[in-house]
């Protein structure tokens, strides 16, 4: 950094670096990811959505009989679903709402004129989702262990990969909504879907506990696929290929739609 005397304009000529350069790409993305993650963690409403409500749901599922008979204990069945709910909270609802309002206030347009650019902005958002998701996993796992959660050791690798895949699918869906409708509508749509998919989308309550007519549909939803795949991973140490494929399809389709229809202003 070249210090400039106080009270003077930056010289574009003598004494200044010959030509401005962008900071390295990785640094730009890391900076944006950190900035967005801190903004998310400082937002009270986002924290409620990302941590408080999932923890309340976790405790609720351990004191009610909804999950009885689906695994060794209620907590073993509940934690994978809550982790999936965390991914949806942060990547879809939280990120969607934040992006929608950033779009409203011209933040996306301004940042896309800086060296960050549109690609760096999206990469920063994805990174911030992953950072917040890691914190959520740590908190939920800690509370889960405290409540007696005993995951299969072999389930951690596929479980974490599936969470990353689920976060990608939900981020793409969140950006699609945020980039195509007004922010107020994004707020309504993402919150409503969080409630509907959280309660009836197969994410915390497995499909077999839902009405028969809904079971087939739920399995095709990103919420149902992620919930099912995570339960298979942490209960049985297995990678659910069909559910993983469904998540990949959602990611690719929503990502392509977001690229095609996302409006920056």
């Amino acid at each position: 950094m070249n210090p400039t005397p106080a009270g003077t304009a930056p010289a574009a000529g003598a004494g200044a670096p010959a030509r401005q350069q962008p900071a390295p790409l990785l640094r730009r993305i890391l900076l944006q990811g950190k900035y967005e993650a801190l903004a998310m963690l400082r937002n009270g409403e986002q924290l409620i959505l990302a941590v408080v409500l999932p923890l309340l749901a976790l405790v609720g599922l351990t004191v009610t009989p909804f999950l009885d008979g689906l695994g060794p204990s209620r907590i073993d069945v509940a934690v994978p679903g809550i982790l999936a709910l965390c991914a949806m909270s942060t990547a879809f609802t939280g990120q969607g709402i934040a992006t929608g309002f950033d779009r409203r206030y011209g933040v996306l347009r301004f940042l896309s004129t800086t060296p960050l650019g549109r690609g760096g902005l999206i990469a920063g958002k994805v990174l911030s989702v992953l950072v917040v998701l890691c914190l959520q996993i740590a908190v939920v796992a800690a509370v889960g262990f405290g409540l007696g959660w005993q995951p299969t050791a072999a389930g951690w690798v596929p479980g974490l990969l599936l969470l990353a895949l689920g976060a990608a699918a939900f981020t793409a869906l969140g950006l699609l909504v945020a980039g195509t409708v007004r922010p107020e509508a994004t707020l309504a749509i993402t919150n409503l879907l969080w409630i509907l998919l959280g309660a009836l989308g197969g994410i915390v309550i497995p499909a077999e506990r839902l009405p028969a007519a809904a079971q087939q549909i739920v399995g095709l939803l990103p919420s149902g696929a992620l919930g099912e795949a995570l339960r298979d991973a942490f209960l049985h140490g297995a990678l659910n290929g069909a559910a993983s494929l469904i998540l990949v399809l959602w990611t690719v389709t929503a990502g392509a739609a977001a690229i095609r229809w996302f409006k920056w202003n």
């Binding site: 574009a12 000529g13 962008p22 206030y105 301004f110």
Partner: protein, 295 residues
Amino acid sequence: MLRVVSGVSLSAERGQVTALLGANGAGKTTTLECAQGLQKRSGGSISLLGQDPATAGAELRSRVGVMLQDGGLPPSARPVPLLRHIAGLYAHPWPVDNLIQRLGIDTFSRTTVRRLSGGQKQRLALAAALVGRPEVLFLDEPSAGLDPQSRQLVFELIGELRDSGMGIILTTHLMDDAQRLADYVYIIDGGRNVAEGTVQELLQRGPAVDAGADHVRTLTFDAKPGLDLSGVLPDDVLVLEERAGSYTATGALTPRHLATLAEWWAAHDVMPAAMTLQARSLEDVFLDISGKDIR
């Protein structure tokens, strides 16, 4: 396809302030956004520091600063962390502490963007555009919402930046600002540029000047409506009753003209209620060119 801008051709030099003037909806912001790479154009060509902004990458963006009309700042952000974040995107940013001091941001550094006044937001948006020490600076309505002190500060800074060799392109619909700041002016109307030149060159335009006058002034006076002033002053002075009882005489006004008019008032028992003599302004030129209809 909606054509918002068609027929705009302009260039801007380093070390100059180039102003785009136009009424609301004239196409100023669209022109600027195409130049910044924010909007795709369907035709024509744009070269910014030798590159096409629509396809250029981070290297070009690092050399260009943009202050958007709506600021583009996150409402929940505080000024200093925001500026430090943006500075981190550049290899050689303007020292943030210096910029904060220069633009008086230290007086509201702990306030979130959503709670800032319009002028404070403008100063912060200007700082965000400058923190990358750009070679080219785009300013969309930079003085909107500024109080007189802030306006003075921003204008001084723009002058210094120009003198340091920065190329500055600004849009405004405030003619006083353009007259004070701009080295070269483009007037845009209906999505095309209809006039261009230095401020002095544009001030020389108009019906009276076309008749060969060098020093165009406007005399405005209020008197009883319906006075027949035809033939009182020579033909190279344009006399109009702009609205009932409000008259203007525009042209190369001399003391002789003023005396002639005063003699006519005396002869017809007319006592003006108010009277001002002004040099022709950029606003007069603008209204001559783009008309007086509300857009």
